[in-house]
């Protein structure tokens, strides 16, 4: 019996967190092996946090970004992507698959999209198996 993958999700308070909440409002199902941390804007996420998450036992990290809806930054997506790529590089250098970190924009009503993405991610992580550090 293998342990179900654990996913850390970063959401943003005004955009993607409501988006994730809207999945619940619509009673859409996704794996409960998820933990959510709200930040104001996905561009604030430091690559070290992502690495720390993998070190702390998470099998994957999903950054639910603001995308073009970001109330703060026009280039929010690019900035967030930079952080995600940096994290992927660090992980790769330690032998961890970079696919364990994903990002996608989740708008404030995109519950369905979120559920699709997270289920897909969950399945991908299941196939990858546990993290070998």
């Amino acid at each position: 019996m293998t342990r179900a993958p654990q996913i850390l999700v970063f959401t943003t308070s005004t955009i993607s967190d409501p988006g994730v909440a809207s999945a619940g409002l619509m009673r859409l199902k996704y794996p409960p092996q998820t933990a959510i941390i709200r930040v104001p804007c996905s561009s604030m996420i430091r690559p070290e946090w992502i690495v720390l998450a993998i070190e702390s036992g998470f099998d994957g990290v999903f950054v639910a970004a603001d995308g073009t809806d970001c109330p703060y930054l026009r280039d929010c997506t690019e900035r967030t992507a930079r952080g995600v790529e940096a994290a992927q590089k660090i992980l790769a250098s330690r032998g961890v698959e970079p696919e364990r970190v994903r990002m996608a924009a989740v708008c404030s009503v995109c519950g369905e999209a979120f559920v699709r993405i997270i289920n897909d991610f969950f399945n991908a992580l299941s196939r990858l198996g546990p993290v070998r550090l």
Binding site: L8, T14, I36, M44, W49, Y72
Partner: protein, 652 residues
């Protein structure tokens, strides 16, 4: 244990079964009660009720608890509620973390009690970890402008502006088109709820009361170009396009101008020239404007009228306001060619009918008054979107009523006309039912179709024929000959609404309309503090509901700016001077220019202007030394949350 004397109380809400039916709240309480720093953990049916809040207050007041976790619904609903409760009890409202175990747990994992309970425990643990490093914060107080910007000069904008002005608030009203009045003015002679007065009367009356009030500045032919700042202190740049007119003109200018275009005021059923005349008695302003995109500067009008001044230039005006109301309205759904016969002669939309009735006092098809008219409802509304481009899933609310209203009006003008209504459900809610009743009494025939078999419109000789399966009559296919077919089209967000959403970064719902925070708790508020929405920019609605929502938005804006100050959340960036080496990496990251280098004693360090900082945190990853941090969400807190989530954090 870190954070010194942090004594955490955890309160888990049942939400009357919404949570407790799925999450084993007792187990959550039991598990998190073991966490270091937690001094009490309880569950309660309704944490948000007065009794629930009292639980928190009592524990804080007694000093037993100085940091609070409430695990309940979405933080957007009740975070503020519990922060206020803590304040009342003398605690610090920022020693608080709101955990969502409803939308993001019990509702998403219905049927998986074990999984949902585990997730709830995990989230509460993370919150506890966060609080162990939390420190008391206080709000940033800033003076607020006692003025409001109202965007949109339609019914909602007029009503909101007038309300604010009457309440003593300075108002800037910005309208895109050259005249106030919006869509409501174009309804003209159509009577509106509760059917005492024509729409144009109401618009005229509001304009009459508004114009000339000293609190009010009106910009027509103007656009909001840029907005910066924050709640209480928005800097707004308004672009005012030239009218090319200095004053009124005698004589018939419409004859002078050789250019022709469809007249928007009559929904395109009439023509206008490049000279836009005040479209109705009592319009504001009462001087014409030139449609410069159509004008070829032939100069004929300038010869005819000395008031014409083609040399005018656009102007930019800057104003400072404490709040903004977006009342940018709707545009009628435009049916695709071929949709329900669109494109055939004699097939028009409801708005075009209204335009024609107002412009010509009647309607003619091929030069003759129609003997029969068929209204086809739900064109472009209530459609499944699978494959169908352009159609909308939502109900546009006003169209059934507007169609009945227009049909009654049509019958008044053409007493013998035969009217068929081809509808799905007649949604004449409330008192509007009386319109439905009146239409029936006067002999209108109602036919209902099902979504699967929409009506088809064809041309047969010189007549139109509507073919429809009537679900009220054993689904026989009826063939209704008609001189006139009216497509009852719904509302879509106007271009102005789309533009303002883009410019102000307002959220839009799946239907494309501006999204309120919550239909009941914060019905006119947006996710952005100080920006409110009103009227049909928010959702399709009728005149009375538009007026009510406008006054409601005005009420919210007024209570904000009348206070004279605003309190901002303390979640802004700060610099740990001891770690900063003034590398300036953060400065270029900040989109608001809130970071600058200052002298601190002997050396230079970065410093954050709290009023300008929006707390996005974009600067955080830039700092190589982790010197710049976000108040209320430090790196250390996030790291502790990550470590604690899977239970490894306890030893850290």
């Amino acid at each position: 244990m870190t954070g010194g004397g942090v004594r955490i109380g955890v309160y888990v809400c049942h939400c009357g079964g919404n949570i407790s039916d799925t999450v084993d709240v007792k187990r959550v309480v039991e598990e998190v009660g073991k966490e270091p720093g937690v001094v009490t953990a309880v569950d309660f049916p309704f944490m948000c009720s007065e009794a629930g809040q009292k639980l928190v207050e009592d524990d804080v007041r007694s000093g037993r608890v100085n940091a609070v976790v409430v695990a309940a619904c979405s933080p957007r609903l009740h975070e503020a509620t519990f922060r206020a409760a803590i304040s009342r009890a003398g605690g610090n409202p920022y020693m608080y973390y709101h955990v969502d175990i409803r939308e993001e747990c019990s509702w998403a994992h219905e049927g998986d009690r074990e999984g949902a309970t585990e997730k709830a425990i995990r989230h509460v643990r993370m919150a506890v970890a966060y609080l162990r490093r939390a420190e008391p914060l206080s709000k940033i107080k800033a003076a607020s402008e006692r003025s409001v910007l109202v965007i949109g000069g339609g019914l909602a904008g007029l009503r909101a502006a007038l309300d604010l002005a009457e309440a003593g608030v300075r108002v800037y009203l910005v309208e895109r088109s050259p005249f106030l009045g919006g869509n409501a003015a174009r309804l003209g002679a159509l009577k509106v709820f509760p059917y005492g007065r024509p729409a144009i009367d109401i618009v005229r009356s509001l304009i009459g009361k508004l114009v000339g009030r000293r609190e009010v500045t009106i910009f027509t032919n103007a656009e909001v170009e840029a907005v910066s700042g924050y709640i209480g202190n928005f800097d707004v740049r308004i672009k005012v396009w030239p009218r090319y007119f200095k004053g009124k003109c005698a004589g018939d200018l419409a004859r002078v101008c050789p250019k022709r275009a469809r007249d928007e005021f009559y929904f395109g059923v009439a023509e206008r020239t490049a000279i836009l005349l005040p479209p109705f008695e009592g319009a504001y302003p009462d001087i014409p404007a030139i449609d410069i995109n159509l004008c070829d500067r032939c100069g004929l009008c300038a010869k005819a009228c000395p008031s014409v001044d083609l040399s005018q230039e656009p102007q930019t005006v800057s104003v400072r306001v404490g709040a903004i109301i977006a009342a940018t309205g709707f545009r009628p759904y435009a049916p695709r060619n071929g949709e329900c016969g669109r494109g055939l002669p004699g097939v028009i939309t409801l708005h075009e009918l209204v335009g024609a009735l107002n412009k010509f006092g009647g309607i003619r098809v091929d030069g003759r008054a129609p003997e029969s008219a068929v209204f086809i409802y739900c064109v472009g509304s209530r459609q499944r979107r699978a494959g169908g481009e352009g159609a909308n899933e939502y109900c546009s609310r006003y169209c059934c009523i507007a169609a009945l209203d227009a049909a009654l009006h049509l019958r008044e003008l053409l007493p013998g006309v035969r009217i068929y209504h081809v509808a799905r459900d007649i949604r004449s809610y409330g008192v509007n039912e009386l319109l439905y009743e009146a239409a029936g009494r006067l002999g209108d025939v109602f036919v209902k179709y099902s979504e699967e078999a929409p009506p088809r419109v064809e041309r047969q000789g010189d007549k139109l024929v509507v073919r429809v399966r009537d679900v009220l009559t054993e689904s026989v296919e009826l063939e209704i000959p008609a001189d006139l077919v009216v497509l009852v089209t719904g509302m879509e967000p106007s271009d102005g609404t789309a533009a303002i959403a883009e410019r102000l970064k307002l959220q839009r719902g799946p239907d494309g309309f501006l999204q309120e925070v919550h239909p009941k708790l914060k019905p006119v508020e947006t996710a952005l503090g100080g920006i409110f929405i009103a009227g049909t920019a928010q959702a399709p609605r009728g005149v009375a509901e538009t007026l009510a929502s406008a006054s409601a938005a005005a009420a919210r804006a007024a209570s904000l700016v009348l206070r004279g100050y605003v309190e901002l959340e303390p979640f802004v960036a700060y610099v740990d001077a001891s770690k900063c080496n003034a590398c300036e990496a953060c400065i270029s990251e900040c989109p608001y220019g809130a970071i600058e280098i200052v002298r601190a004693g002997s050396r230079e360090v970065a410093s954050v202007n709290e009023a300008l900082c929006k707390g996005c945190g974009a600067c955080i990853p830039a700092c190589p030394n982790s010197a710049i941090q976000l108040r209320g969400l430090t790196s250390a807190q996030i790291e502790d949350m990550i470590r604690s989530a899977l239970g490894h954090g306890r030893s850290a």
